[in-house]
Amino acid sequence: MLFYILLTLNQAFAHPVTFKGGLAVTSIHRPKMTMSQVNYTVHRNVAVATSYVRMENPAGDLNMPALHANILLKRWNALGSQGNLYGLIGAGINTPSLSSTWTDELRGFVGVQADYETQKIYTAANVIGFPSLNDMNDLPYMARYRFGIAPYIAKYDEFQIWVVGQVEYMPTMQDTPIVTPMLRYFYRTVLWETGVSLDGTYWFQMMAHF
């Protein structure tokens, strides 16, 4: 079953681990959510990363810079396809706004991500949580699943477009899942995504590798 899920999943929202010596920058923006990350791959299976997370929750804001490790737990390489399983672990200090009921505190930064891609399709799922170290029931998290199709296959120097559908669930922020169709633009090592959810909120992501 897990293998089937991985086969119907793929390439990520961010690349947690790239290549040894590789630097990746990614930033996701929504009206009530921001998630930015810079990671540097120190080993082919491990990257050190810093992230900034903002979530505007009715119960309290998340406004948290974090340090964490991204670990490639397993990679399946085949001719023309790749599947990955990643784990993310670290911590950050949440400094919510003055109007928030939450207070400054140390929170965990933990996540898991699975993806699978070929040159024609990609699919990915991830869950990232920010548990309070004082109260384990206080666990804001974001979960995403997406599926993308490339209408054509571009070469490295050519402009590539993907059509992507995404479902997000951030229960501390919104009761209902957010469904977002979007377009992904890919040129060399820079990627952009733009979309508008079915309830009218925008999605923007930028990713670059160096």
Binding site: Q11, H15, V17, T18, F19, K20, G21, G22, R44, L72, R75, N77, A78, L79, G80, S81, Q82, E117, T118, Q119, I153, K155, Y156, Q160, F186, Y187, R188, T189, H209
Partner: protein, 105 residues
């Protein structure tokens, strides 16, 4: 005229045929191409590297009097995050192992 044509074809062939062709498992996007190119570009023996994503191939041109061992190719591909399926060398390419050091200057 025939000689001229033969020479032109020979030169074109010499310019476009790589010394080593590596079939790689796991390469699927431009980010993959970048990682592989960076790894091989840092090798002294490599004159030129080209990645054919649609064919899952890495083409390598090796400098005169130098060579690149299979072990080195395997290590570089692995560091980039992928796996080697096969390594094919043209008849004119250098002996695969060990790496030939650059000539003394």
């Amino acid at each position: 005229m025939l000689l001229g044509l033969w020479l032109s074809l020979s030169m074109a062939f010499a310019e476009t045929t790589s010394d080593i062709e590596v079939l790689v498992k796991g390469m699927v996007c431009s980010f993959c191409v970048q990682g592989v190119e960076k790894k091989f570009s840092g090798e002294d023996a490599v004159e030129k590297v080209e990645v054919k994503l649609d064919e899952s191939k890495v083409l390598l041109w090796i400098k005169d009097d130098q060579s690149l061992a299979d072990d080195t190719i395997n290590r570089l591909i692995k560091d980039a995050g992928y796996n080697v399926e096969s390594i094919t060398r043209t008849e004119t390419s250098s002996t695969p192992t060990p790496d030939t050091p650059p000539p003394a200057k």
